[in-house]
Amino acid sequence: MLYIISAMGIEARAIIKYLDLKKTTDRPFETYQNEEVHLVISGVGKINVAGATSYLLKDTLRGLNHSDYVINLGICGSLNNKFNVGDLVLVNKVVDYERKRKYYTDILVKHNLKEGSIQSIDILNRNYEFEEDLVDMESSAFFEIASKFLFVHQIYVVKIVSDKVSKNQPLERLTKKYIDELIYDKLEEIFSFAKLVSSLLKLFQPILQQQDEEIIEKVSKSLKLTFSQTKQLENGYAYFKSNKRINPLFLEEYFNYIPKSKKERDAIFEDLKSKLYQ
C-alpha cells in the first residue's frame, strides 16, 4: 500500500484526479483512497502533519507491512541555486530546523530524480539560517512519526520547488492554479519512482507469511502446544521453508489431531519437529 501525505488540498488535487481516488472521510483529516493508495490532507505545519501521519499509518504496525511505503508530497521553497522553480526533488536529508534533528531515508532504488536536503521550519518568515537546499513546514515531523511505524527505506519526501526564497525579497504569493499545474506536470515522474519503490519492497517478504502463521496457530491449538513449543514450531517451520523452499504441507495432518495426554502431545511434537529439521 502507498500512503501519501500532502499538507494542502491544492497539493493533493492533481494526485487525487490522476489516481482516481475516492473521498472516504472528512474528519479528523480529509482522506481519499483506492485499492492501492491512501492519501490524507494534513493541513500546514509540523503538528498537523505529525497527527495525520500517525492517523494514516495507525494500522501498519499490525500485520504484514513490508510492502507499505509512505510519501510526503508537496511544494517547497529553494534556499540556494542548486534547484530551480519546477524541479522535482527526492529529499535525502531532512532537518528539523528548530530541534536540530536530522533524518535520512534509505534510497535503495535506481532513479533519475534530483536529490537534495530540506529543512523544516515552524514559522513562515525569513528569520532562519539557510542551512539546507530546500525549506518546508512539514517533512521533519512527517519523517519522525513515520519512522515509528516503518523502516527508513519505506519513507520518502518528494518535493516540487514552487519558489525561490531570498533573505532580501518578500515571500511570493502562489496561486492555486500555479500549484496545481506544478504538481500535475510531475505526476508521471513521481509515480514512476513510486513504482520502483514498490518493486523493491516486494523483494523482502518475511519468511513466515500470514498463511504460514495461520497453519502454525491451527497446529498449536489442535495439539495444545505450550508457548515454548509453539515458538519452536515457528522456528522449525521457518527452517523447513528456507531449506526446502516449499511449505511443510504435511502439517495439515495435525490440524484435527487431539492428543490424549501431555506425554502423547510431547511425543507427537518431537516427531513433528524431527520432520521439519530433516
Binding site: V109, L203, I207, A238
Partner: protein
Amino acid sequence: MKISNQNYTSETFSHIYIEKDALYYPLTNKITSKLNKSKIVYIDNYNEIFSRKNQNPFLQKLSPSLILAVNKGDFIYKGSTLCHNFEQQNFYYTNFVVNCLLDCDYCYLKGMNFSSNILFFVNLSDYFHELSRLLNVIKERPERGQGKLYLSISYDSDILLFEGIYPFLKEWIEFAEANPQITIEIRTKTSNYKKFLNYSPLENLIITWSISPKEVIAKYEKNTPSLERRLMAISQLLEKGWKVNLALDPILYIGENWRDTYKEFLNLLSVNINLKKINAITLGVFRIPVEYLKRFKKFFKSPISFFPYDTVNGVSSYPEELKSKMIEFVSSELEKIYDKRNIYIV
C-alpha cells in the same frame, strides 16, 4: 560493483554519507574522487546513518551506501573469545572498515550491526599512533608475551575488497615492516592477491583465507569468489613466499551427507595447494551470540538462521554432540594431510 541483477536497485555506493569532520582528511578526497558518480550527503556523526534502529539490512545488501567518518572512539580492541588467539597473550583486532560487500548467510556482522552500509574510518594515521603507543606499553612489560602483539585488521570486514578505493595496504605493510614485534593478520575470502605482489613477503604479515566446500559457497556465501579462485590466489602467494593461514571456519552442518562434502573438500585442498607451506589452519563450527541470531531470524531467510542451536553462555551453536562429531571428523581427516601441530581448534 553491481550486486543485484534487479534493474531497479541502485549501484553499490550510489550514496556516500560524509561526516563533516571527515572532510578534512586527504583520504576522503581520494575516495570521493574515485567514486565521482555517487551522491554525497553530509552528516554530523556516522551513527546517524549506521546505527539507526529502523533499517532493513537485508535490503541494504542490494544497494549498500558508503559512510566516511572519523573514528573518535577506540582504535584497538582485545580479541574476542569466539576467535582463535593463536596462543598469543596480546591478541587484538582493529576495524578501520566495518561491514562487507560479501553476503555470507552465517556472517556475525549481520547480527552485530543495524546496517549493511559500509563504514570507512578515514583517520588511519590515528590507528598507527595508537598501535605504536600500545607496542611501547607491551615492550615495557616483556613478561606479557615477550613484547609481541598479534593484530587482526579484518574481522569486521573483508578489507581487500576495498583496496581499490581505500588504499590501506601500503600503509599497513610499511607499519609491519617498521615494527617486527607486531604480527598483522588479514582475513579474506577474495581472490585479490595481485596487490601483494608489489611488496616483498613479510614474516610478520599473515593472510588468512576463509575457505569452504563448493556446496557451502554456492548455498551460503553469496557474492564471494569460487573455491577454485581462492585456491589459485593462495597458491600464487605461497609460491612468492607469503605466509598464509587457512580458516575452515565456520564448518557448517549441511545435511546428513556433510562428511562426504568435507572429505571431498579436504581432498581438493591437498590437490590444489601445497599444504606443507601453509603456516596454520584453524577449525571451528558455526557459533554466534544469541542476540545476533535474533536479528538473523528477523531479517534473513537462510536455514542458517533457523537451525535448532543450543545456547551456552549467550553463544548459540550446534548441539554439543553434533559439534564434537563435526570437529573430530574434520580435524582427523585434516591430520592425514597436514601437520597436526599447526591445526588450531576454536
